[in-house]
């Protein structure tokens, strides 16, 4: 226990913190500029000077750690003089242009000058000139206002890891610049904006558009872009979002955002938003009233259901809609259409992996806290660049590396180039071979029956049968030096807390099952935590809501009768017992005519699924297609009825992130129209489904009764951030234990050399600023997107004689 006295008050502390932190914890304010809780200590602005007994000079409280018996004063004549002096220094070269500065009203320099500064200036010489830079589409840089606290640089360097800006020059000529001196070549996380205490770096999205004190309300909500689920505050004025601001004390992102979260909110006010229902008349989509559209949809769906049976109807749920909406959607299909043909785009990756891993390693095995990544001793990244797919999670990997973790990447991860210990790039299609060898080496070195005796039988059996390509052949087969691989494996094995991050590329490849098996087995052998990257905000949520062909809400298998009976009682209907079709099966069935009608909510399969022409043609064959969306998507273009819904920030509800945290989504913008759940329940009512909902809270209340996974869950739980799996611990599985097919057929053959070095293969790189749907309607994100590009290994290009040649690329 440490006892310090600050301003005569005795303060007891468990662990040594800085004087500034100790003071703040006890409500004593010490003015400062360069200190920021997220950033490395700097000690440069000298504003936080305090008096400490037995120390001859004033001390910077942001860098001085308390020691037992220390006596500190934060207010005295000498301190007041020092603060006044520092403020005077900061202002001599400052333009004093508060009337036109967007920071006015929330500027530390302004506030502290009012409180501690001098009334008049004594500096008569000319001020330093530095023209404001408007070279960048998103960031305005005003170096005359800069006080060189370097918070932006330390954020960019030490937290974000982008290192896109630096202080250039020296002394009073210093300024903060990107390499070009003008436009940024950066990750556009905008985290520099959050930490700038003055008006030196501003977002162009709101420059000169409002004064900070004119913000009418702050709405705390969750980001609509990816599965990390960052929290931020939407600042509202005149029913428009003026800014999204992260808070260092709120949410898993703790004050950090990525480009999409920071700048991507404009899509919601896009002029291309759908506002009126459309009905296809004579081959053309024409505006219609809600009544007509709803009646038409209800009647046509009932007609088709009654004519061909429930199995002729399919539904695609949305990983961008809320839990409540996805719950209503599957209920609509199951109870109303009597169909289990419910799936989503998550089928192409996340859902498959998530279900597989849970089947093998047990329920909740993918529910791991993102905040645990930096505390890992080793991180393995496979199948994509987390800094692009889930940027804020990617930052946690970078932090792990900085804290000394071993980081091993498999595949192309440009965002981790400076943050990895071992980078393995196997030849195309040899990932499984490589993973097989890694697994086999781990088994050899750790022993298959070590402390893991009693593990899943299939894994144990596999260890006995498994013959991977030997390490020594890795160079030939995968193009990976065997010593590098050997070192990497040894390094990983020597670590204790290990995280494995699995991205979409490895689970969207041809050897999904093999890859998943190997990754799961590696995780099992290493006792590692698994993180599944998720490109959409609610992939986990829609799985948990039962938007799968074989699963009821709460992850309960549909073929267990007791589960069905329970839900049938609650819903007042009959639920088909056989599993429905998966997403690709539904597309096939649409094409073959087995599926006659589809209801697509907030999804764009024509754009998002491979072989767009086939998907489109299949959907065109349907007798009836309903698309519910906020934009006129490529899929909506072929629909019979298009229903405009409300988007993120226009409705309440919840999302479940990739670590299975359920978080509140709040309405910020008041706009006319119907939410997805409301449209569905209006139609449902006409069909005779029990959907007595007036708000998402009503739906959540029903969910908490239906899904044991969500038993008793309330919005208050989410508020308190306790909406994290497992919620109340009620058993989720009943009936006979399921034995998943662990070993895919012929899996071992994949471990034979199968490389394609004679052909060119194109790998898809996920873009950091664009995810394809909402981001396309954000002018801010489009302004920093440099367009699609193809990159070729220079050696290959030379070999092909293609150097300097611009080739055209077509995708299907």
């Amino acid at each position: 226990m440490i006892t310090v006295t600050i301003n005569g008050r005795e303060i007891r502390l468990e662990k040594p913190v800085t004087v500034l932190e100790a003071a703040e914890m006890n409500g004593i304010e010490i003015p400062h500029f360069c200190h920021h809780p997220l950033l490395e200590k700097w000690g440069g602005c000298r504003m936080c000077l305090v008096e400490v007994d037995k120390m001859p000079k004033l001390q910077t409280s942001c860098t001085l750690y308390v020691t037992d018996g220390m006596v500190v004063r934060t207010e005295s004549e000498e301190i007041a003089r020092a603060r006044k002096g520092i403020l005077e220094f900061l202002l001599i070269n400052h333009p004093l242009d508060c009337p036109v500065c967007d920071k006015a009203g929330e500027c530390s320099l302004q506030d502290l000058t009012v409180k501690y500064g001098a009334a008049a200036g004594r500096f008569e010489e000319g001020k330093r000139k530095h023209p404001e830079s408007f070279d960048d589409p998103l960031i305005v840089r005003n170096m005359e206002r800069c006080i060189l606290c370097t918070r932006c640089v330390r954020m960019c360097d030490g937290v974000q890891g982008a290192s896109a800006i630096a202080v250039t020059n020296r002394g009073s000529r210093s300024s903060v610049e990107p390499f070009s001196g003008g436009r940024y070549n950066c990750e556009y996380c905008g985290n520099c904006l959050t930490v700038c205490p003055v008006g030196a770096i501003l977002s162009r999205l709101h420059v000169h558009s409002y004064r900070s004190w004119l913000v009418e309300k702050d709405v705390r909500t969750v980001c609509p872009y990816c599965g990390v689920g960052c929290s931020f505050v939407l600042q509202m004025r005149d029913n428009r979002i003026v800014r999204s601001l992260p808070r260092s004390d709120v949410g898993i992102n703790r004050g950090i955002l990525c480009a999409k979260g920071r700048f991507g909110y404009e899509f919601i006010t896009s002029s291309e938003r759908l506002r009126t229902p459309l009905i296809r008349v004579d081959g053309e989509l024409k505006p219609a009233t809600w009544d007509d559209a709803i009646t038409l949809v209800a009647n046509r769906l009932m007609e088709i259901r009654d004519k061909y049976g429930g199995g002729s109807i399919g539904g695609i749920a949305s990983a961008r809609c809320t839990n409540e909406e996805n719950y209503v959607f599957q209920k609509f299909l199951r109870a109303g259409m009597r169909s289990n043909n419910i799936d989503s785009i998550a089928r192409t990756g996340f859902a498959v992996a998530q279900r597989y891993i849970e089947d093998v390693l047990g329920q909740g095995s993918t529910a791991n806290l993102i905040s645990g990544i930096p505390r890992s001793e080793a991180v393995i990244v496979v199948g994509g660049d987390p800094t692009h797919i889930n940027p804020v999670l990617g930052i946690h990997v970078r932090e792990a590396f900085r804290r000394g973790a071993t980081v091993l990447t498999v595949g192309y991860t440009p965002g981790l180039e400076r943050f990895r210990t071992h980078g393995l790039s196997p030849y195309p299609f040899t990932e499984a071979t490589l993973l097989g060898t890694i697994l086999s080496e781990i088994v050899n070195q750790k022993g298959p029956h070590g402390e893991k005796v009693g593990g899943p039988q299939e894994i144990a059996r596999f260890f006995e049968e498994f013959k991977a390509i030997p390490l020594s052949d890795m160079e030939r087969v995968c193009g990976i030096s065997c010593s590098a691989l050997g070192n990497a494996i040894k390094d990983i094995i020597s670590r204790s807390t290990i995280s494995i991050i699995i991205g979409p590329e490895i689970i969207q490849s041809t050897h999904v099952r093999t890859n998943l098996f190997l990754l799961t087995a590696i995780a099992y052998m290493l006792g590692a935590r698994i993180y599944l990257l998720s490109e959409r905000p609610n992939e986990q949520g829609l799985i948990d809501m039962g938007c799968l062909p074989d699963t009821l809400p709460g992850g309960r298998p549909i073929d267990v009768e007791s589960f069905r009976t329970r839900d049938e009682e609650l819903w007042g209907c009959e639920i088909p017992s056989a599993a429905g079709l998966t997403l690709p099966e539904m597309v096939e069935a649409a094409n073959s005519g087995d599926i006659k009608a589809m209801y697509i909510m907030g999804e764009n399969p024509v754009y998002n699924l491979p072989d767009s022409a086939f998907v489109r043609a299949s959907l065109e064959k349907l007798e009836f297609l309903v698309v519910q969306d906020i934009f006129m998507t490529e899929t909506a273009e072929v629909a019979d009825v298009v229903l405009p819904s409300l988007g993120w920030s226009e409705k309440d509800g919840s999302y479940t992130n990739l670590e299975r945290r359920i978080q509140r989504l709040r309405k910020a913008v008041e706009v006319e129209g119907m939410e997805d759940w409301r449209i569905l329940s209006e139609i449902g009512k006409k069909i005779g489904i029990r959907m007595p909902y007036n708000s998402p809270a009503d739906i959540l209340e029903e969910i908490s009764r239906v899904s044991p996974l969500h038993a008793g869950l309330t919005y208050d739980d989410m508020e308190r951030n306790t909406g994290l799996w497992p919620y109340k611990g009620e058993p989720l599985r009943q009936g006979p234990p399921r034995t998943p097919t662990l070993l895919p057929q012929g899996s071992l053959s994949i471990c034979n050399a199968q490389t394609g070095r004679d052909k060119l293969y194109m790998a898809i790189e996920r873009h950091m600023f664009l995810s394809g749907t909402m981001s396309r309607y954000s002018s801010a994100l489009m302004s920093i997107y440099e367009g699609a590009s193809v990159r070729i290994n220079p050696d290959v290009a030379r070999r092909l004689g293609q150097e300097g040649l611009v080739s055209s690329t077509e995708t299907m």
Partner: protein
């Protein structure tokens, strides 16, 4: 007095390892390797050697701190970033006696348990770099550096890291940043380099002259060494004298020689028989002294009693013709140029002081400017991250303290 540090510098081949061996070179290293590292540290502690870079920290104590830190590897850095204006005392060692420095570093490395050493050499000494690199390869060749020094299984590697024109890198934590490839800005202390230094590891940073004293201590023993010069800070000291004296140059004298002795007995007195007006005793950052204070013994203990500091022992002499406002102005130009920009008072304050002084120098100063200068200097002093800002403030306050009338007379007038 017999010269130790500058022995043999007149020999045109003094940089040659053979010549160095002829006068007993590397014998101290051989002897040191017979001793235990702890005994060596004790010997240096007992010798009373204090760092010659300016701060005067007891060298043995610094070594003991680094040696006691269990982290490994440790580093030894020679601070050869001699940038304090008026200072050129390390230059003859670097350019004429590179092997003395190398021997000193090999002994020091062994004492503290460092296997890697760097000589952080200022960019402005291109010739010294070639000489040092030549001498280092000779030392490697003859087994005084490398993986198995003199067959004793002791490892010490040495290379030159060239600075690139930043005075601040003479400050030890800025020097470390610069060695690590960063902007040379001082770090917050604590932690001190002896615990968290280069690459996060325990690091000893000693000045060139300090390290050059080590072979002597080993050679003659701590007892004999401690009898040279002032009892409180013994040893030989290189003073470098420039400005208005008859014989500017470097003088190796016992520590504690008075300023008067240095100027009049060794440097031939004020040039052309002119009157002495002022002396900066230890490089431009040290407080200027008026002629009535030149009987001060030039060592770390006595100089503060006379209102100044030993600093680097760089004596700049001004005769009666000098305009001290101009000197002060030029000094502040230097500090503004060299301020690293990390902390507010130094970054903004040095420029402000410079511009006021520039105004006075140009003849448009006002009487109130003197108080403004003192006030601005006061707002810098004691509030900066490192001593650079303090130095700038102290130059202004001390020039005004001793020569206020000259500043007053300069108001509204240019000097002729």
């Amino acid at each position: 007095m017999e010269r130790y540090l500058l022995k043999d510098i007149e020999n045109p081949r003094s940089t040659d390892i053979g010549e160095y061996k002829k006068i007993g070179g590397y014998k101290s290293l051989i002897r040191a390797l017979e001793m235990s590292p702890n005994d060596l540290i004790d010997e240096v502690k007992k010798s009373g050697l204090r760092g010659r870079g300016g701060a005067g920290f007891p060298t043995g104590m610094k070594w003991a701190f680094a040696s006691a830190d269990p982290k490994f590897p440790k580093y030894l850095i020679c601070n050869a970033d001699e940038g304090e204006p008026g200072t050129f005392k390390d230059r003859p060692i670097l350019e004429k006696r590179p092997h003395l420095l190398i021997e000193g570093m090999a002994i020091s490395g062994y004492a503290i348990g460092a296997e890697y050493g760097y000589i952080y050499l200022r960019g402005e000494y291109p010739e010294a770099r070639d000489i040092l690199e030549g001498a280092i390869s000779e030392a490697y060749r003859d087994g005084f550096l490398g993986d198995n020094i003199l067959g004793k299984g002791i490892r010490f590697h040495l290379s030159v890291h060239r600075g690139a024109g930043a005075y601040i890198c003479g400050e030890e934590t800025a020097l470390i940043e610069s060695l690590e490839g960063k902007r040379g800005q001082p770090r917050i202390k604590p932690p001190f380099p002896v615990n968290v230094g280069a690459f996060g590891m325990p690091t000893v940073i000693n000045n060139v002259e300090t390290l050059a004293n080590i072979p002597l201590i080993v050679e003659i023993g701590a007892d004999a060494y401690s009898k040279i010069g002032s009892p409180e800070c013994p040893g030989p000291k290189i003073y470098c004298v420039s400005g208005h004296v008859e014989k500017p140059g470097v003088y190796e004298l016992p520590m504690g020689s008075t300023l008067r002795e240095i100027i009049y007995d060794h440097s031939g007195g004020v040039r052309g028989g002119k009157e002495l007006k002022a002396v900066i005793p230890g490089g431009i950052s040290t407080p200027v002294l008026p002629p009535d204070r030149i009987d001060c013994p030039m060592d770390f203990v006595n100089m503060p009693r006379y209102g100044s500091m030993l600093g680097s022992g760089a004596v700049i002499v001004f005769d009666e013709t000098v305009c001290l406002v101009k000197v002060c102005y030029r000094a502040l130009k230097f500090f503004e140029h060299e301020s690293c920009g990390k902390c507010t008072p130094c970054r903004e304050g040095t420029g402000w002081l410079r511009s006021i002084l520039g105004r006075i120098d140009e003849g448009s100063g006002r009487k109130e400017d003197i108080d403004l200068l003192l006030d601005v200097a006061g707002n810098i002093s004691g509030k900066t991250l490192c001593p650079l800002g303090d130095g700038a403030a102290s130059v202004v306050t001390n020039f005004i303290r001793h020569f206020r009338d000259e500043f007053e007379k300069h108001m509204g007038k240019t000097c002729v």
